[in-house]
Amino acid sequence: MATREMSRRDILRIGALSALALTTMKLNRAEAKTVQGRMDSLVMGGKDVSPVTKKERKAIPTACWSCVTRCAAMGYVEDGRLMKVESNPNSIRTEGVMCSKGQSAPNEVYFPDRLLYPLKRVGPRGGGKWRRISWDEATDELAKRLKKLRDEGRPEKFFFHYGRMKGSSSKLIKSVFLKKVYGVGSYGNHTSICEGGKWTGQELTWGKHYDNWDMDNTRFVLNFGSNIFETHTNHIPVAHRLIRAMKERGVELVTFDVRLSNTAAKSTEWIPIRPGTDGAVALAMCHVIMKEGLYDREFFKFIKATKNHKASVDEKISSLKKHLSRFTPEWAEKESGVAASKIAALARKFAKTKPACVISYRGAVAHYNGAENERTIQMLAAITGNVDNPGGRCRGVGAKWKYPKPKYHVKARKLKIVDGPKKGPLHAKLPTHHVSQLVLRMIKDGSQGRPEIYLWYCYNPAYVNGENREYAEILKDEKLIPFTVTSNIVYDESSRLADMILPDATYLERWDWEDMVSPAQIPEYYIRQALVKPLGQSRDFADVVCEIANKMGLPMGFNSKEEFVRLSCEHTPKIKDLPGGGFEYMKTHGVWHDPKEKPHYYGYRKEVKEKDLKKKGVIFDEETGVYWNWKKSKAKSEEEAKKKGYRHTKKAYKGYVGQKIGDKVYKGFKPDKINKSGYFELYSDILEEKGFSPMPTYYPIPEHRRKAPDQLVLTTYKVAMHIHSRSTHRKWLAELFHDNPAWINPETASRLGIGDGDRIKVRSEVDEIVTKARVTDNIVPGIIAISYHVGRQESGRYASGRKSPFGRDDDIDLKFKWWNEYGVHPNWVIPNWVDPVSGQQRWMDTVVTVTKA
């Protein structure tokens, strides 16, 4: 369109101006506020009408939970039944739009195979026979078993493993109940099978993780392996801003991916790349930028690029230039398959377009070299000054809720099975987000002890990790784990291996406060409220936890999550003072942000106040230039703290105050989880000590180096209409996507004698699967791509064709379901391997042999 051409020219002009005066740039969304707009005479949203009765439906503000993005939403209810969920038009995050997953919400409540009653197994574990029990029986038994462990002084033998728990659910269950009240400090999460390596890469460079991509203000987006238009941890809030930026301001998006995802398809340019080589390309870009003097000299003040933290800017620049000298575009071309000329041109464009945003996700990080790739991508942002600036890669900003904390003084005990083994090929040296894919392996191993009760929540360990066959066997083995419990809404591959099933409420039937990162860089406070009563006998697991705590004689000061949310609204600054009271206001509006608040940028540039340096316990560390409060660390005395120093005192980062640079002390890049300095660290003493390169480098994937010419690399991916492993029971989504033939390039297929639609055998060193081939030009030669949402053995009739225990037949659509192909799950053949730095699961690295079946 003409406007697109126009705006591109405009942008070039504006770009030149703003490069000189970036700080004065006007933010087009600094005063982000309501977007409840109109389209001509029509209202965009916030209400709904029945197509049958034409009556307006009851509108209740709430929040989605389909994925971790947790968009503020509106639920529409008619005669006590949830009819529809839309976005909350007043949310500054979503600005009133929603994805397909969010729109399928009614399916989540009413799917016919939903678990609605507490169940106890009859016969052997995994035998599939169940009897209904009462809630009293269920909570009595759990409370009794838990109390026994606690009374015997070994609460850590209760192992809780969650797949997703955020906002108030996380605080109530984990921070309050498990840690403070019950006294267990070890629990499993799932971050390492998601993007843990990305977070470790960030913690090593700029401290606390989460990068928000400021699409509203950027002028160029460079994408390493993010499928932002189909899926992302902050999907809708960022994706809709990106497409708007592209259309209205002519922003270009360049995507590196092994596969033509919808994001690649929608990009200005898709650049196919060999798997696991993103870091090589990013390094070569940094090489060009440094060599050609295109770097942002000013930002180097905040960079650590040498061992000596007092190095001058010139010294840092020359150190980095020297380090990068061998990573030429020609070298990167050999690794990645991306033309050297393309790498150099993109490097120049990225460095010269101000501001520009480099984005990354699992395509870059779910590898052997994942954390290092993220570190390299962080470096690309840093040397061009695109860090925490309008239009760049910003530090995430979210709501800060206060919540009730009962007074218990227990020292939490831990079972050391969450970080993988301490030696051998599966040892990760810096697993800041744990190694969840190895928890079951650690249980089998037994050297660090085993849990007596294993309870998983919003998690499907036998399906979501690699090596599914082995993991199901471990879970099934009553000798390894005497008692297994799950709280779930769906009877999935792991629920069937539980001894007791607690039917969970869906997110549409429960309460929460939420705090996900705001792409507007202004925190948004929002809540989730129950839209309808929990179906059947299902109950929010957090409410069950409250009851169990009471039954153990450990009251927490609240008896339900709704009460916890109310108390949080009454205690959180600003929220508590809202008109009508915080809880009432949030129930009516669902969302709130401070209209006076300015977007958060450049936090690192703030100077630390003199008085904060003089607080009791604050000392200066010569080695790093860090001011820190030793009292917040594990040091027992000031003397010990000074002797060990900031870097070698346990949990010293918790006392971080500021970074001395020259004669000033800045807030800098505050560390999290590791004792990093306040610099943006390109030189990492921590990595150096662990035996890795202190400066960002490239670690080729060893198995790819060794693979035979005919072998392929297996990569997995997500699609726009599913949520990880959590949505195949939703009929409207399953109807759109229920089969997952393996993508394979025509050249590769012909070499292997495989035709479109052929049955193929995919064999790795751990297992094999048989699936179908889809021969397509949408993929790099030499790899095979299989989406991982489907290939269910359970999860009900829409997902697997199998009816779940006590499944109902009252859904009319069971009669109209027209598919009977359910796909093949790729995780069976993917080993549970780790990035040796972060422990990140190496989803995209598996070498496979593919033959016609």
């Binding site: 209400k47 729109q103 497409i243 708007r244 898709w270 659509d813 027209w818």
Partner: protein
């Protein structure tokens, strides 16, 4: 979008419209002056900006939810159209729904006897399938006899038998169904369900008879599906991919084709009009 909204005066628009009319013939480009008047009744149309569509299918699912549409059939969907050889492989997305034609073949073939009807003071004749004076082509399932003529004659394949309902004019058959542009929402002053959810704001609904409406301003260069059929569709496509929409319609892949056809096949084989 917003710039255009502010920038174009009515005079400029008329000029553009005239230019558009000149180049319209044969290319699928639309003569934007057709049916245009400064005043007059509301005429709802939809403009789809393909630059803004990211193929997420939220519209598809939002429509399913809005009408609790049965499995196997769809009112609105998105076609994926793939073309080009590696490494220049490409994928387009084509949002697909009833075109609410000004010259609708479905209405023409409907054998149900027309009756006089009125909408907001405007008189019109109404078969079981009819065009409401404000634009939407609708189905009166109470009068529908489930003969399937409209389904067979829609060149866009957007109609289907509503599997769980009975045709009022022939309870042995299923009635025809399709996108109705969410008239219940339009009548309540609300955008259609697909427009509400669309994250790229690719779907834009508005009054084409209002020269200042967003849809009127987006008409320049707009194209329609299968213009050679003479159906005068009132769903317009703009953006870089608009030139390829007819290829996408003919060659693109969509679940709807599979699902609808499975169900329709069953109906044609076993239904009241089998054989």
């Amino acid at each position: 979008m917003t710039e255009e909204k502010k920038g174009l005066t009515r005079k400029e628009f008329l000029k553009l419209a005239a230019v558009g009319a000149g180049v319209a013939a044969g290319s699928g480009l639309v003569a934007a002056t057709e049916g245009l008047s400064a005043k007059g009744p509301v005429k709802w149309v939809m403009v789809i900006d393909l630059d803004r569509c990211i193929g997420c299918k939220a519209c598809h699912v939002a429509c399913k939810a809005e009408f609790d549409v049965r499995l196997g059939v769809f009112r609105s969907s998105v076609i994926d159209y793939e073309y080009g050889r590696y490494p220049d492989a490409r994928r387009d997305f084509l949002p697909w729904l009833c075109n609410h034609c000004d010259n609708p073949p479905c209405v023409k073939v409907c054998p149900v006897e027309p009756v006089e009807a009125e909408f907001k003071g405007i008189k019109f004749t109404k078969k079981a399938t009819y065009k409401r004076p404000d634009g939407p082509v609708l189905v009166d399932q109470q009068r529908c006899i489930g003969c399937g003529l409209c389904i067979m004659n829609c060149p866009y394949k957007v109609r289907f038998f509503d599997p769980a309902k009975k045709a009022g004019g022939n309870p042995a058959a299923n009635p025809a169904s399709k996108c109705d542009l969410c008239v219940h929402r339009l009548d309540a002053g609300l955008v259609p369900s697909c427009v509400n959810t669309c994250q790229g704001r690719a779907r834009i609904v508005g009054n084409l008879n209002d020269l200042n409406s967003e849809v009127s301003k987006l008409m320049r260069g707009a194209r329609v599906l299968l213009p050679e059929k003479g159906t005068k569709p009132q769903v317009y496509y703009i953006g870089e991919g608009a030139a390829r929409i007819n290829d996408a319609l003919r060659k693109g892949i969509d679940i709807r084709i599979e699902a609808n056809s499975e169900y329709q096949l069953k109906v044609w084989k076993n239904g009241p009009y089998a054989g």
